[in-house]
């Protein structure tokens, strides 16, 4: 089973198993990951930074995701993504995402 590692601001991390058809956001909510408040299925409250080396292996964000990313509350970086749009792509075994300082 592929995994996602969530890394918090203080450097602590938690790795959880997630099916390839489950979004990183839903995996975070199901496991009570602090700092990803995407349960509202509302926009731009599930912002994460993808590991810089892995970012290029992911499908590029859609136009809509890019527009939403322009509105995120935390600092926007080149590797900013919305976790509701992210899944762990094959053949990646573990996707690493960093949780931003704030969501809203």
């Amino acid at each position: 089973m592929p995994r996602v590692r969530f890394v918090q601001q203080d450097g602590s991390g938690k790795s959880i198993e997630v099916g390839r058809d489950v979004s990183v956001m839903l995996a975070a909510v199901r496991n009570g990951i602090h700092g990803i408040d995407g349960e509202c299925l509302d926009c731009a409250t599930c912002h994460v930074y993808v590991d810089e080396e892995q970012a290029s292996s992911l499908p590029q964000p859609s136009e809509e995701e890019l527009e939403l990313l322009s509105a995120v509350s935390g600092e926007r970086k080149p590797n900013s993504r919305l976790s509701c749009q992210l899944k762990v792509p094959a053949p990646l075994d573990e996707l690493v995402v960093h949780v931003p300082a704030r969501q809203s």
Partner: protein, 412 residues
């Protein structure tokens, strides 16, 4: 058993329990729910679930392991029937009783039933729960002609899904425009055009007089004007009713929902309520409101959960709503209510615009279609009480975020 008892395991019930636990409430917590399902996502039920894009399993938000980890006892498939405030006890349908120190109602709302001849025929559906959605999805698979009664959020979302599935869809709406209670005529007209383009037939200012059937299965809808529309399946979406009967019977004050303060507390101490089942005074709406939304359920439940744990932070979030229909992403912040002025930013024809609503010069609500950046800026503006001039709002070259930033600095 003592501690906290929560009735209802959807967004509000789960959030209140989690917040109370995380804020240090150390007594036992029990969530009792009449549904058999683990807590699940509701917004996809009218959209991706009907379209087969999300499985039943992926609707689940939290599982048993999660609740065990939080030391929350989840009791599914058990309906609460009676509250005895004096004895501090909730009775379940099977006869068992739960004692409590504090109680939270998160009983939600149910679909308003249509009361016309033939309303009990098979083939007439409502949509609230996952079991409703499973039934509706199965029904749609065997239906070609669909009639939707009600042009509100649920009706229009199901209409869009059914049209995408290739069904012939007719929407019957009693008022003169779609989503009348939620959005302005600009948006209603835009949505009407969107549905018409998708091949959906929309009948405005039209009521349902009765249903016709064969062998107790619906076969047609008879309209108020006498016209008959053939239907293999009918979806009724004419609003919701608060599930406040248990609270009402126990003597708690209920007026279109259980009346609560900014901490989700009833007038009786240690009794709380959150979500669709409540009526609260909302300062952004400047009125008492009963809201049916995920945002309201979660944010109100957070305030209640904190109060249960002995911490206090009032519920004062700006109401938010969203809806997906076809490729239209509609986001709403605030309640336009009795607005007296509006400003349109962007292009309605291109399907990328926001409508700003003002009341006595103050920005009270913004609807956005494919304008998430503007919507996020609008949320911050309304929450901070900052109102761009209508001329600024209508000018796409004016940077709304500059006002938010200025407000942040002024407030810092």
């Amino acid at each position: 058993m003592t501690g906290l008892v929560v009735i209802g395991a959807s967004y509000a019930g789960v959030q209140a329990a989690l917040t109370a636990r995380d804020a240090g409430y150390s007594q036992p917590i029990t969530i009792v729910c009449d549904e058999e399902w683990l807590p699940y996502q509701r917004p996809p039920l009218s959209k991706d679930f009907l379209l087969g894009r999300i499985s039943e399993q992926n609707l689940i938000l939290r599982d048993e392991t999660f609740f065990e980890g939080k030391q929350i006892n989840l009791v599914l498939g058990q309906r609460a029937t009676l509250l005895d405030l004096h004895a501090r006890q909730v009775t379940l349908a099977g006869g068992n009783a739960l004692k409590f120190e504090k109680l939270l109602f998160a009983t939600g709302s149910r679909a308003r039933r249509i009361a016309v001849e033939g309303a009990d025929f098979d083939g007439i559906f409502y949509l609230r729960s996952v079991t409703d959605a499973i039934d509706l999805k199965a029904g749609l698979a065997n239906a070609a002609e669909i009639v939707i009664v009600g042009g509100g959020f649920i009706g229009l979302e199901v209409a869009a899904s059914a049209a995408k599935l290739g069904k012939k869809v007719t929407v019957v709406e009693a008022s003169s425009r779609l989503l009348e209670r939620a959005v302005s005529p600009v948006l209603s007209t835009f949505l009407l055009d969107t549905h018409l383009r998708a091949g959906v037939d929309v009948m405005l200012d039209e009521t349902v007089a009765s249903f016709k059937g064969n062998n107790r299965k619906v076969s047609a809808v008879v309209l108020g004007n006498g016209a008959v529309v053939h239907a293999d399946l009918v979806l009724v979406g004419i609003g919701g009713v608060a599930n406040d009967e248990i609270a009402r019977s126990a003597g708690l004050r209920c007026t279109n929902g259980i009346v609560v303060d900014a901490h989700g507390q009833c007038e009786t101490s240690d009794i709380f309520a959150a979500g669709d089942c409540t009526n609260h005074f909302n300062r952004f709406c400047e009125s008492w409101v009963r809201l049916e939304s995920v945002q309201n359920a979660q944010d109100q439940a957070k305030a209640a959960g904190l109060a249960i744990a002995g911490a206090r932070a009032p519920y004062e979030n700006v109401p938010r709503f969203w809806s997906d229909q076809y490729d239209v992403k509609l986001q709403i912040v605030g309640l336009a209510g009795r607005y007296d002025r509006q400003a349109v930013r962007g292009s309605v024809d291109d399907g990328r615009f926001s409508v700003f609503y003002y009341r006595q010069g103050r920005l009270v609500a913004v609807d956005s279609v494919h304008r998430p950046g503007e919507q996020m800026a609008a949320r911050r503006l309304i929450a901070a009480g900052i109102s761009p001039a209508p001329e600024q709002a209508a000018d796409p070259s004016f940077d709304l975020k500059s006002l938010v930033t200025a407000g942040d600095k002024a407030g810092a």
